[in-house]
Symmetry: C2
Subunit: 143 residues, 2 copies
DNA sequence: AATCAATTAAGAATGATTCCTAATTATATT
DNA sequence: AATATAATTAGGAATCATTCTTAATTGATT
């Protein structure tokens, strides 16, 4: 996991560079995305911010998450059931291992992934821009 | 690609085994899913069936696609933008290469994928049930 | 401190999917 | 072949996540 403080500063820097205002609500969203390990969804971010901003609108969370996504500072994890969760700590393509019971998400190290991407580019002639690799299974805690 | 006729028969057999009625609408959905190469979405299936069944309800397409999915005879491909497309020809986890411009989908052969699944199981202790592997890029036709 | 464009809150609108209900129909049985 | 019945259908209503709208507010610049 990247250092949460560094990630926070890095995202704030990107926002400034692109002339986006640093509102308290926006910074609260950034903080949660930069620091949380659990890949929160929009609803979760909304809940967490409620404590500090009781009038916070859900639409504001959506707006800011989308902004950060468009700046490449947040990775959206779309799941088969249609739900979305977000990773602001490692905002680039990387594999996940997801427990279908407790919904835990782990980031495994897969050395062979780079080779595989090259293999795909070679076989299909595509210029590969990104990928999505998720393994679904049962974690040790859930037997 | 598996033989479309065999896939059609195989799906029909599964439906019979599970005591589902073979309505004309249902069989039309099965036929399209078993034979189409282009990974159609629900809307596309609906359009294609309109010609033969002008009174066909969109809900009926959804119902039947979901039924086939629950029987393991159709693979649902959920995309980052929230859209879904379906594969009734190869209804098991397999990688895709998707052109972000023309939306073309190719099924590459990746020999190393089995090894990678074993690697993940070994590293995380998960019992891996399925996976999802999509590469996004630009195909040769779209330069 | 004043200005102004960006941002916000709150609720309305949207769009994909699912649900509901009465009418229809595939299948098994006679 | 006719009947019974449980599954399925059409069509529209309901749902739910997400996006849009509008007027009010606010961060950043001068």
């Amino acid at each position: 996991m990247a250092d949460p403080d560094e990630r926070f500063d890095s995202i704030v820097k990107k926002l400034k560079e692109n002339n986006h205002k640093l509102t308290p609500q926006r910074l609260a969203v950034v903080k949660i995305l930069a620091t949380s390990k659990g890949h929160p969804n929009v609803e979760k971010i909304y809940e967490l911010i409620q404590k500090d901003f009781p009038t916070m609108s859900l639409a504001t969370v959506y707006r800011n998450v989308m902004l950060l996504k468009s700046l490449g500072e947040v990775l959206e994890l779309g799941f088969p059931d249609g739900s979305n969760r977000y990773d602001g700590n490692k905002p680039y393509s990387h594999p996940h291992v997801i427990c279908v019971k407790c919904k835990k998400i782990i980031d495994p190290d897969l050395d062979t992934l780079k080779d595989m991407t090259a293999e795909v580019a070679d076989e299909t002639g595509f210029k590969i821009l990104m990928h999505r690799l998720d393994f679904f299974g049962i974690c040790q805690d859930c037997i």
